[in-house]
Amino acid sequence: MKLQTLKSIIEKKKNKSEFAIITNLKTGESEIFEKDKPLSKEMEVYSNQINEFFKSKKNGVIENSEIFVETYILPIKVIIVGAVHIAQYLVDFAKSLNFEISIIDPRGYFASEQRFPNMKIINKWPDEAFKEIDTNENSALIALTHDPKIDDPALQHALNKKFYYIGALGSKKTHENRCQRLKEAGFSDKQIDSIHGPIGIKLGGRSAPEIALSIIAQLVSETYKK
């Protein structure tokens, strides 16, 4: 691979674009494929197969050829509501996984840069904060404040936008009350049941990093079910 190609791949990953690397295994020559952009003459004959790999987000060698296709997908957006202790560990775990984290917390003391260096923290109420984040059914929400004033509007946004993962921290009792409020707000049982509450898989741990681990494990598991 040419160093120039390597550098443009890294640049494209930074710019959050979806693309594929097409490599001729015989010559070692590779090029970058992007949707609606023309391929080189040499690769043009494989354009149908390349598009197929790209659409299904798969990697592999095109049948009866020496062409390898490697697709790059966008990182998953995870919105954490509550810049609390657990969130600090979630940020650490997310660094080694393909998650792009944004943190929302209207409380100034929590949303400080000192607590979350180099992180995008939106120091606003969820209704305002979500105007700054483009979300869709490929997004995830982790609600950690267990304060209805802050969590509920975020949960409502996530349900309306059909996030593939929605988790909310709090005891069974807290969650029951939360479900009741959402029901009164007009959400269906099916929608409400899609919320993971109490959040996380059962690990048994009670410390902040242990809870963060149980949440991130559940998130990864749900990501592969998509």
Binding site: K2, I10, G28, K58, I73
Partner: protein
Amino acid sequence: MKNSFDEKILEEANDWVTANQKVVLATVIQTWGSSPRQVGSRMIVNEKGDFSGSVSGGCVESAVVRECIGLIKDNKPCKKIEFKVSNESAWEVGLACGGEIAVYLEQVN
């Protein structure tokens, strides 16, 4: 979602090149049977044999490192190698898990 989580190996490769090291990318391009790492998994190797990332569960990495050093020494651009199930001979390189993989080596130049 079918693709694996990104492991930032290419970013590391760029760092190594910037530090004036010769770098070979080793990528899993095909698998058969129960192989531990999926297609697209990658490791990088420099001329000294330092490596990062993985193409198996530790079964064939040593052999891949040797092949990569050879590629740099012979100044070849690329090479495809296949690893099959290991047999009785104790020190033969192979996949104890029973899978087969094809790994593609390419120099960054």
